[in-house]
Amino acid sequence: MFRMTLAAALLASSAPALAATHTITPGEGAQERLQEALILAEPGDEIVLSAGRYAINDGLSLDVEGVTIRGAGMDGTVLDFTGQQGAGEGLLVTSDNVTLRDFALENPKGDGIKSKGADNIVYHRIRVTWTNGPAATNGAYGLYPVESDGILIDGCKVTGASDAGIYVGQSNRITVRNSIAEANVAGIEIENSRNALVEHNIATRNTGGILVFDLPGLPVMGGGNVIVANNLVVANDTPNFAPPGNIVAGVRRGTGIMVMANDRVLVENNILSGNPTAPIMVVAYPQQYDDPRYEPIPRNVTIGANLIDQGGYDPQIEGKEALMAAFGGELPPLLWDGLGNPATTLAVAPGIVGWNLNLQEQGQGLGDAQPTLLQNAPRPVEVFYREGIGAPAALDERLSR
């Protein structure tokens, strides 16, 4: 009762009416009842999905701000999209201040949950699973917030995405934490986004564990200010099953953490084990582009202390036998393509051994590599300026409601 009152009071400024709760139960007509509730909800309302399995055959959508969709747990309430006929995602959210929590989506045809232009959104204990394991026929993204300011993803789990399990694109002020990304092509991907904190996650059995990318030709560019810390990035050894053509189709099996073309990224205190191509990779965007706004070379990447073992033992790299022999049987854990001003591109903590492809210009392939050990890590690790990185604190307060 107290909680209800408090919630109502907090919402009073934007929603004059008292918040209402709409309870949906599984069974006949559940999809229509749920979609109708999503449409007719007023700002501040809560839509409660009772425990059970819901057969959903069309995309669902929410366009009312301040709504909470709450299930009975990520194994208790399951929206089953196996029979989905239309729409590009299971659930589409286009309104601000939405909280999604404690339910699951299974086998959506396209993306799992997409939120676009949906500021201050919380994904809490949401599971998205393609139940047949890794397959190119699975949908692309599990959780897919894009073009939004204020994103908190906490305690979620995505399995089987044919692109990225948790993908945040063209957004600002982001936290992805306490989540599991398993058996996706990319586990967690932060793309063309700023001020992202990726911490305390598990990325395992993906092709690549955690990717931080900036790509050309998009409305929002200039990704940076990203911290990847305290994650468990282990056994990312699933062969790449992305449909060709997508940027992640080029990710090598066994990539742990990969930084491409970003500005100011900190990678520290992660545990990386069993990533057979490279535990950590820092590279330039390799493809042609035509976009004067774009900077393909990474800048100000700091590789702090990380606990690394069993990396680079079976790299998906041309001429790997010769390379491995040259480096004594296993490639060093940090791979840099060598592109960028040594004074500003990369700072590496003592104890992290790296190697350098010594590429000379953007767009060169591995055939032009002249690998050497990464000498005198270009500069010492500096204090990383963390102010303003991560989701707004107010989003945390919603977790306890």
């Binding site: 007719l40 959508s61 729409a87 589409l92 692309a140 692109d163 694109g169 449909p243 053509g245 997508n246």
Partner: protein, 336 residues
């Protein structure tokens, strides 16, 4: 007080319409367009003197689009109502600026048993706080259309004989196509997609301020083979794709901009790599590879109905073979 009077008037008109089929005195209930609330039936608006026959009431003007949006081959009956005493404004070749109180009405119908079966009537209402999109679903008896905010699915056979599960969009899905910068807007009535004759008749009837000057004209779809393929294809993409694939709209994050006025080849997809396309990329590297429709993502996504790959994502259950052919020909004829 005025609204009460209007409502009473409309109720009388409605009663009249029920008593005498196709009463010529039916008038549009303007309050249903402008006042808050979601009318439960289409009849409450008074848009038709005979709705099952789609005979419009006084002031409700039928119109057609030069190049229409493909909807599984549905026959689409389009009407516009501009409120008394107000005028639409022509803005170059772009969307008509339609005054508050305007309604756009579109009925979807499929042939069945030699007759026309009405499926749904979608209305766009211009209220003081913006446009509102509502779908009304026709009953089996074809006597009444009721509001279906959650949409529906129906089994249908298209004019080409394809059995489909037809999707009546829910209220939110309306916004997927009609949304721009967070607001709902009309899509169809762009000056460039309306005939000069119709625009002139609107001016003559006092519903439009002036004949637009120097406006581009999209070609008539049925005459597509007689115009340069670039015009036919760009018109098709403008009408069928650009409501999402433009800045500020549903697919803005893709960076693909398929509007008629877009001239940057990269924004149009030429040599553009996909973003977030997932399986939709189909193994191809670029949206459009000049000269090679078979290696271009755009026609690939048009050529399927599979969820997660098909474009557009909603609003179609069959492939538009004619539209696909025009787009393929356009890509084929591009100099590599």
């Amino acid at each position: 007080m005025r609204h009460v009077a209007w409502a009473a008037c409309a109720a009388l008109a409605l009663a009249g319409a029920l008593a005498v089929q196709a009463s010529p005195t039916a008038v549009v209930n303007e309050a249903t367009i402008t006042e808050p609330g979601l009318p439960r039936t289409l009849a409450e608006f008074g848009f038709f003197t005979d709705a099952p026959q789609q005979v419009p009431a006084e002031g409700v003007m039928p119109y057609r689009l030069n190049t229409p949006l493909y909807s599984d081959g549905a026959e689409k009956l389009r009407f516009i109502y501009v409120p008394k005493g107000a005028k639409a404004l022509a803005q170059g070749e772009k969307l008509l600026e339609l005054p508050v109180g305007t309604a756009l009405i579109k009925t979807f119908a499929f042939p069945e048993g030699g007759k026309r079966r009405l499926i749904e009537t979608r209305v766009l209402l211009h209220r003081a706080d913006g446009w509102l999109a509502l779908p009304y679903l026709w009953n089996e008896e074809q006597t009444e259309a009721r509001l279906a905010v959650a949409g529906a699915r129906l089994d249908l056979v298209t004019p080409k004989g394809e059995a489909i599960s037809y999707r009546v969009p829910n209220k939110n899905q309306c916004k997927e196509c009609h949304g721009l910068e967070g607001a709902v807007i009309p899509i169809g009535p762009k000056v460039r997609n309306l005939s000069h004759d119709w625009l002139a008749s609107m001016v003559a009837a006092g519903h439009l301020d002036a004949m637009p000057q120097d406006a581009d004209q999209l070609p008539l779809w049925e005459e597509r083979d007689g115009v340069p393929v670039v015009k036919a294809a760009r018109a098709y993409l403008d009408v069928n794709c650009a409501h999402c694939h433009r800045p500020g709209a549903t697919a803005s994050n893709s960076g693909l901009d398929l509007r008629w006025e877009q001239q940057d080849p990269h924004a149009l997809g030429i040599g553009k790599r996909p973003v977030a396309a997932g399986r939709g990329a189909g193994g191809f590297l670029f949206d459009i590879v000049p000269g090679s429709p078979d290696h271009s993502i755009l026609p690939y996504r048009m050529s399927t109905t599979e969820g997660g790959i098909a474009m557009p994502e909603i609003g179609k259950s069959t492939v538009d073979e004619e539209g696909l052919a025009v787009v393929r020909r356009w890509i084929e004829e591009m100099a590599p």
